[in-house]
């Protein structure tokens, strides 16, 4: 990543086509576009149940120009491991990507993910995290942040968001990164780096959902950017366990440069009933996490 990637260098070939069925402002459609730009015709996508099951559009047609195997909820990393093994046996070039939501990653599919990570299967797992079960209608997941309204946490979720990137880092896999739909070049560079590394790669993509988070569909990228600017979401990567804060997040290592988190929270209807006390609590959690990552990155 010595020479930064620029928009002019990105391929013009499109992988998200008219006819896809994403909601207006959908971050997953944005993310899939970047997967296409990063991996092009080398990609095979394995997709468990979730929003992208719908976004693909209706068979026998499709709004996505990738080869895709749709699979049962808890199976995706194992299916991908099989595809990857078969392609190696056949000597065919392919980059096998699991494109899974937060439910399929950190909840129902967690054992499968953990198994593939521990085995070092040669795949990339992208967790496209919209912080709730959006496809079934906004129910809480382990990735829903504390205080957020969902249709199964009417007074706001009481528990904190499970920290998946650090859990995956603890698996000792060769590559872990976080990404955001607001920073396409950062995400694309991370995907391209992941391709060059053999073994299990994990990328956690922050994906604000206008429907579930209650904001205007025109603001998806803005909300995603605010998450970075307030420090609520931190972009970093870890190669061989070595943590590096990524350029878009680097300015915010300095707490004084971060925007107050309330600027991020107040733009989203899901935090409408959040108390001042809880905001302070979230602020404290953000600071703690930053301190931990800074410590990890200086080692």
């Amino acid at each position: 990543m010595d020479v930064p990637l620029t928009i002019r260098e990105l391929p013009r070939e499109k992988y998200v086509l008219p006819g896809h069925a994403a909601c207006p402002g959908c971050p997953e459609a944005i993310g899939l576009r970047y997967v296409g730009m990063a991996l092009g015709r080398r990609a095979i996508l394995v997709i468990p149940a979730g929003c992208t099951s719908i976004i693909q559009g209706l068979s026998p047609g499709s709004g996505l120009a990738f080869p895709i195997i749709n699979v049962a909820f808890a199976s995706s990393d194992a299916v991908a491991a099989g595809v990857s093994a078969a392609k190696e046996v056949l000597g065919e070039d392919a980059v096998v990507v699991v494109w899974a939501g937060d439910g399929a990653t950190s909840d129902i599919g967690f054992a499968t993910l953990s198994g593939a990570a521990e085995r070092g299967d040669n795949i990339i797992h992208v967790c496209v995290d919209n912080e709730a079960y959006m496809n079934t209608g906004i129910q809480r997941s382990s990735q829903t942040p504390r205080g957020a309204w969902t249709t199964t946490t009417w007074r706001g979720k009481a528990e904190p968001k499970k920290n998946m990137p650090l859990i995956m880092l603890s698996h000792g896999v060769p590559y872990v990164a976080t990404a955001s739909v607001a920073y396409p070049l950062d995400f694309i560079e991370k995907l391209r780096k992941a391709v060059t590394i053999r073994g299990f790669k994990y990328i956690h993509l922050h994906a604000p959902c206008p429907v579930g988070w209650r904001f205007d569909p025109s603001e998806t990228v803005e909300i995603a950017r605010l998450a970075i600017e307030t420090g609520m979401w931190i972009l970093f990567e870890a190669e061989g366990g070595r943590v590096t804060i990524s350029p878009p997040s680097r300015p915010y290592m300095d707490k004084s440069r971060r925007k107050p988190i309330i600027e991020y929270l107040k733009r989203q209807g899901r935090f409408r009933n959040i108390t001042e006390e809880l905001v302070r609590e979230l602020e404290r959690e953000v600071d703690e996490y930053w301190n931990m990552l800074i410590k990890l990155s200086s080692q």
Binding site: I69, N70, S75, A78, G82, A111, T112
Partner: protein, 391 residues
Amino acid sequence: MRITLTGNYCVAYAVKLARVKVVSAYPITPQTTIVEKISEMVDEGEADIRMIRVESEHSALSAVYGAASAGVRSFTATSSHGLLYMHEMVWWVAQARIPLVMAVVTRTIGPPWNIWTDHHDIMDQRDTGWLIAMAENNQEVLDETIKLFKITEDPEVFLPGIIGLDAFVLSHTVEPVDVPDQDTVDSFLPERRQPYVIRAGDPLIMGNIPSDLVRNARMRWDVHLGLRNAEVVIERVDREWGKLTGRYYGGLTECYRCEDSKYIMVGIGSWVGDMRIAVDSLRDEGYPVGLLKLRYVRPFPARRVYEVVKGSRGVVVFDRSISAGSAGPLFLDLASHIHAMRLGVPVKNVVAGLAGVDVGYKDFENIVKRFVEEVEGEGWVREFLEFYPGR
């Protein structure tokens, strides 16, 4: 090569001979020695197989499904709770029309924990769209496993298949077995065929939401038709194998002394061996009894059943599992077909051997004698369903 092998090792040898490329499995008693043996063959450099040593059975079938979708011959094996745990994927693989082979070492289901054989695990899969074969002995385990690769990869079928073998009675018991050489198997098994292959650069999508529910319904019915087509393919492949090795098994079924029989015993799996002995001794005592062994549970050999049962005076079906609240699943299949074909033959269902209870030829003799007396005395069966707990 004639050597002594357990049923589980027969599976492992068949997998190697079939030149399987990817194997994934999770250990469970009594399946474990299959994957242990395959792992040993891989580590010793005897077999060119990629092993994916997964963390669960759900992942085992998922991994081989991925590998098979991506274009290589793949195999997994399980038992009992492992099979139930992967049940979701059992459906998925069949409905995706991806040929692959799985060995199911039949074992009862808990609670309580119990490792002995019955057929509740394998019978629980009979609606999924898989071919389900049941072996009587270790030679049949080896032969049928090899054949299943050819049958499942036939364009008329394109469905996955299960080879069932009974826990311990076959899985852990050694028998002398003829192991064909690699050239023989190579001449028998063609290159892998499958309906589609997922590959990079080809934007094929498997399994997105249908725009047309009628089309979706036809796909579901087509799985049924694939299984019906398999009847012909199983017969053809069995004859080919017979020519090559001298072992033709009779296709979907095998009849033992049915020709001049008046009463027919029906069964699957390892206890068919005991049924043969029972038939012989019953014949010696003058009972006109024959045996219909079903080699396949799916497709259900309805036509063969019709031919054998027509003109008989009574049929007794032995089930090693029960669809609780109804009757034994083999009986349900057989009785409904017999009735629909207006055969007017009395059918009795004996549910026995549950939870691994041993049922020997003496038991079969006694049950069949009572059955014959019942039908000859009453002209029909008094109670169609009988539970035989064991002695």
